[in-house]
Amino acid sequence: MKFYGTALSSPLMLGTAQYPSPDILASAVKAAQAGVITVSLRRESAGQKAGQAFWSLIRELEVPVLPNTAGCHTVKEAVTTAHMAREVFETDWVKLEVIGEADTLQPDVFGLVEAARILTSEGFRVFPYTTEDLVVAEKLLAAGCEVLMPWGAPIGSGKGLNNVFGLRALRAHFPDVPLVVDAGIGVPSHAAQAMELGYDAVLINTAVAKAGDPVAMARAFSLAVEAGALAYKADPMAERDMAAPSTPLLGKPVLA
């Protein structure tokens, strides 16, 4: 699956916030073999380009950068931050976040659709951070998005995939749209599960950055997404309620 015409080297997208140091971040990105790294600009005073020192460390990692609008609560803020991101990282990709609720960091899907419409009309390639709501997904696609990033659970909660049915429904409804589980993934098995559902990528930040050993955890996630993607391609067996022994039952007295 391609993201706006670009194939990623890995389905693991890695956030760059909250690491113990830029050196550990760099080692984690390497260990994860990340296909994309995301960077926030809002709080880093993008207006004055005051994050330049950190951003040049990010660019030196030589992994495609997906700037994000984390920390934006209104359409206007998100659009302005996207403009700055385009200038700083010379990319038209933007991970669009419009936060609706400060405590859970749940997306404001109404503002999201509006911001997506504005940004796509300006030529941006928008990766919207949304809920798993099908109708919102339809509106985002109508607004010009060609990728969807539904949450697994609230940002930083590490709860995994809260609504597997909803995520599965999205996959079934939009078989040709690249889908990324963004937010809420806590451990590698969550990431593997998302890939087993047929998702095209997962985005992880806190689970790696806040691990005791971020570099080892990055590698663990890289193995998990590989396992999950491989499993999806291999077409898993069907679940069933009864045991289905693989050894012959011939000769047993009862075959219930």
């Binding site: 113990p20 140091s21 830029p22 050196d23 550990i24 760099a26 709080r43 880093e44 005073s45 004055q48 005051a50 994050g51 330049q52 020192a53 950190f54 460390l57 930083g156 806190t206 806040k210 005791g212």
Partner: protein, 323 residues
């Protein structure tokens, strides 16, 4: 007898002052030149002054802890009013899982319950069910410790302190230059970057604390350090930005919310100072001593200035006297 080594130390922040005092104590003639109008013109003035080798292990690599175990003892021997009452780690009720996580990554603490919390900090009695107590840690007030070091250098150790002196003095020749100028040394130390920090100083007679308290939160961990005369330092944000402009509303809300959550008595506190600064930092966030010819750089203090300056000063001493 050979003549004493003549040494220029540039930068009267914590790294430069500690190095200057150490060198002068070993018999060197020390000139300390500071670009600003007073000692501690940079990030050192905004620091919390926690001497917490074991708490820092939560996010810092092991060498930071190893190099700072003797730090509290050095400070106690060299400046007055260094407190060694340990430190306390707590979390708001819905974030108590953070206390367990903090404990898994650190050592030299014991987990304590409501009774012992109340014995250590009567004002926090019944406010927290669980805390980590690090008995071997301490803290100091940077705004007293730095002038005390300068006083010691000039009045006890025969050193010379030049303020408002950005360039190296040319009135004499020096055997060594110790450059502790933080981000001003960027031209020579290209991997340095600034990490923005914001802090508040509160005056609050209604609350008494005896030791630094860290309030854990997954997004916004904050600490409160008590100082003399009912002052409390609340810090500090960590933002990958080199904007050294005034504090933002979001940062202030986070700091104030943490103080309020720790004790509602802080609601009536006066905000007596609002500080922002840039921490000079290397890519691994570990401070370092490096040598180039006759210049020794002490830099990249990040958030470990007070904790690691004694160890870094000892490395400078070795280069000057043992090479």
């Amino acid at each position: 007898m050979t003549r004493p080594q003549n040494i220029l130390v540039r930068g009267a922040g914590v790294a430069g002052l500690v190095a200057a005092v150490r060198l002068a104590s070993r018999g060197a003639r020390v000139t300390l030149a500071e670009a600003g109008p007073k000692v501690g013109s940079g990030a050192s003035w905004m620091a919390g002054g926690m001497l917490a080798p074991w708490c820092e292990a939560e996010s810092a690599p092991p060498e930071v802890t190893e190099r700072s175990i003797d730090s509290l003892a050095w400070w106690r021997a060299n400046v007055p009013d260094v407190q060694s009452n340990g430190s306390l780690v707590v979390a708001p009720p819905r974030d108590t899982a953070e206390v367990a996580r903090f404990g898994r990554r650190t050592s030299h603490f014991r987990e304590i319950g409501p009774q012992e919390i109340g014995e250590l900090e009567p004002d926090l009695a019944d406010r927290f069910q669980k805390a980590l107590f690090f008995p071997e840690e301490g803290h100091l007030d940077p705004r007293k410790a730095l002038p005390a070091l300068a006083d010691r250098l000039v009045n006890e150790l025969g050193g010379r302190l030049l303020l408002n002196t950005p360039a190296a003095p040319t009135d004499e020749t020096f055997d060594w230059t110790v450059d502790a100028t933080g981000l001003r040394a960027r031209k020579e130390l290209s991997s340095l970057r600034g990490v923005r920090g914001e802090m508040l100083l509160l005056h609050c007679p209604d609350v008494t604390l005896h030791r630094p308290v860290r309030m854990l939160h997954p997004r916004i961990p904050i600490y409160i350090v008590p100082r003399a005369d009912h002052l409390f330092m609340v810090g500090a944000t960590m933002i990958e930005s080199e904007n050294d402009g005034p504090m933002t509303l979001r940062s202030m809300s986070e700091l104030l919310n943490a103080a309020w959550t720790l004790h509602p008595g802080f609601a009536e506190a006066e905000i007596v100072d609002i500080g922002t600064g840039l921490r000079p930092s290397y890519p691994d966030n570990v401070p370092l001593v490096t040598q180039e010819g006759r210049t020794i750089f002490v830099n990249g203090m990040y958030r470990h200035g007070y904790l690691l300056s004694p160890w870094l000063g000892a490395q400078v001493e070795k280069l000057v006297f043992d090479s």
